[in-house]
């Protein structure tokens, strides 16, 4: 099994059985996993909780993966979103990356690859959060004239 990673992950896919087995496998690797079966539900979940990475299906009934990606990114630009989909066209991959996804994986994907991408996403997010904090501290210091 791959090395344990401590991260909070949101899995979004309309296939409940897929969510069930994938989250069990991820939890076995140390991740804390939350799941959503629709884009609408995912948008609600990210409002109340900080996730290190979101693994998002591209083709879902109702709000599509791309639409969900755009909505999440517009409200939470720091969130790292990995697309995981059965829709394997290059055009869709490019569209997802342009819309702000950090990676694009095709189903069925290799578990080690998924874990690797989550680990990278977490690293990027930590860096972004640190930079943001640094900027905030600088701003405070400047405003106080220190």
């Amino acid at each position: 099994m791959t090395e344990e990673i401590k991260a909070d992950v949101l899995l979004v896919d309309d296939e409940e059985q897929f969510l069930k087995v994938l989250s069990q496998r991820m939890e076995g690797r140390g991740l804390k996993v939350d799941t959503s079966t629709s884009g609408e539900e995912a948008l609600e979940k990210v409002k109340g909780k900080d996730f290190d990475a979101i693994v998002l299906d591209l083709a879902m009934p109702g709000m599509s993966g791309i639409e969900t990606l755009k909505r999440i990114r517009s409200e939470h630009p720091d969130l790292q979103i990995i697309m995981l989909t059965g829709h394997g066209s290059v055009e869709k991959g490019v569209e997802a990356i342009k819309a702000g996804a950090v990676d694009f994986l095709e189903k069925p994907a290799d578990m080690n690859k998924i874990m690797e991408k989550i680990s990278e996403a977490k690293r990027k997010r930590v860096l972004l959060v640190e930079k943001k904090r640094e900027a905030q501290v600088k701003e405070i210091l400047q405003s106080k004239g220190w």
Binding site: M1, E15, Q17, F18, V21, L22, Q24, R25, G28, A59, M60, P61, G62, S64, G86, H87, G88, E106, K107, P108, A109, M111
Partner: protein, 221 residues
């Protein structure tokens, strides 16, 4: 004009086959993903040392889930295989319900993506029809595609079959709000449909509330 009709017909045929294959491969990849993760989970559990008698029900659940996914994938393969073989011969005796069931199974994903329910209401014991099932599927597809594109989410489309005298009929009944009035991709869509129905020796009529009825003679053209 003839060339334009021919081009539109080819475009429709390509779109039809393309949609069926895209939907099919997407579904199969989803089943394979679940099978892969389920078998991976069994491996994970063994590596974690979950090997007591108490763990057996969990293993059996996962194995059952793998079998279910294989069952669903097999059913899908059967539909695609039958769909492909319908193109082998021009005219054959076929069961209308089976022909429609197969088409709907292959197109259901596109309706689902738009949150539209695609359902069937088949009259049982229909007589076999001697006609061109491939052309009939293409004709029904052209109407379903238009109605799926036009309906807003939470709509419903029922495909009903029935028999009257020496004819069978397919009735396509949409329910819900239409966002677009006419979503035909080609300018000559109605001409293509006319051409199809002429080949099948049948008739197309519009029922109430955007219903479409396709009637075919049981004994063919």
């Amino acid at each position: 004009m003839e060339n334009k009709n021919e081009e539109d017909l080819k475009a429709l045929q390509l779109r039809f086959v393309g949609k069926v294959i895209a939907g099919f491969t997407h579904e199969i990849k989803n089943y394979l993903a679940i099978i892969k993760e389920s078998s991976g989970l069994i491996g994970d559990m063994i590596k974690m040392g979950k090997l007591s008698e108490d763990d057996i029900p969990e293993y059996l659940d996962i194995i059952q889930s793998i079998e279910d996914q294989i069952g669903k994938a097999t059913e899908h393969f059967t539909h695609l295989n039958r769909f492909s073989h319908r193109m082998d011969t021009q005219i054959s005796a076929f069961n209308l319900n089976e022909c429609m069931e197969e088409l709907i199974a292959l197109l259901n994903r596109f309706a689902r993506q738009k949150k539209i329910v695609l359902e069937t209401d088949f009259q049982q014991d229909l007589p076999p029809v001697k006609s061109n099932p491939s052309i009939l599927q293409l004709l029904v597809f052209s109407f379903l595609e238009k109605k799926i594109a036009g309906l807003e989410k939470n709509g419903r489309i029922t495909v009903r079959t029935g028999a009257v005298d020496n004819a069978v009929a397919v009735k396509i009944i949409p329910e819900g709000t239409f966002a677009e009035e006419d979503t035909d991709a080609g300018m000559t869509a109605d001409k293509i449909r006319e051409n199809f129905i002429k080949q099948l020796g049948g008739n197309i009529s519009q029922g109430t509330a955007k219903e479409t009825v396709i009637t075919l003679p049981v004994h063919g053209v």
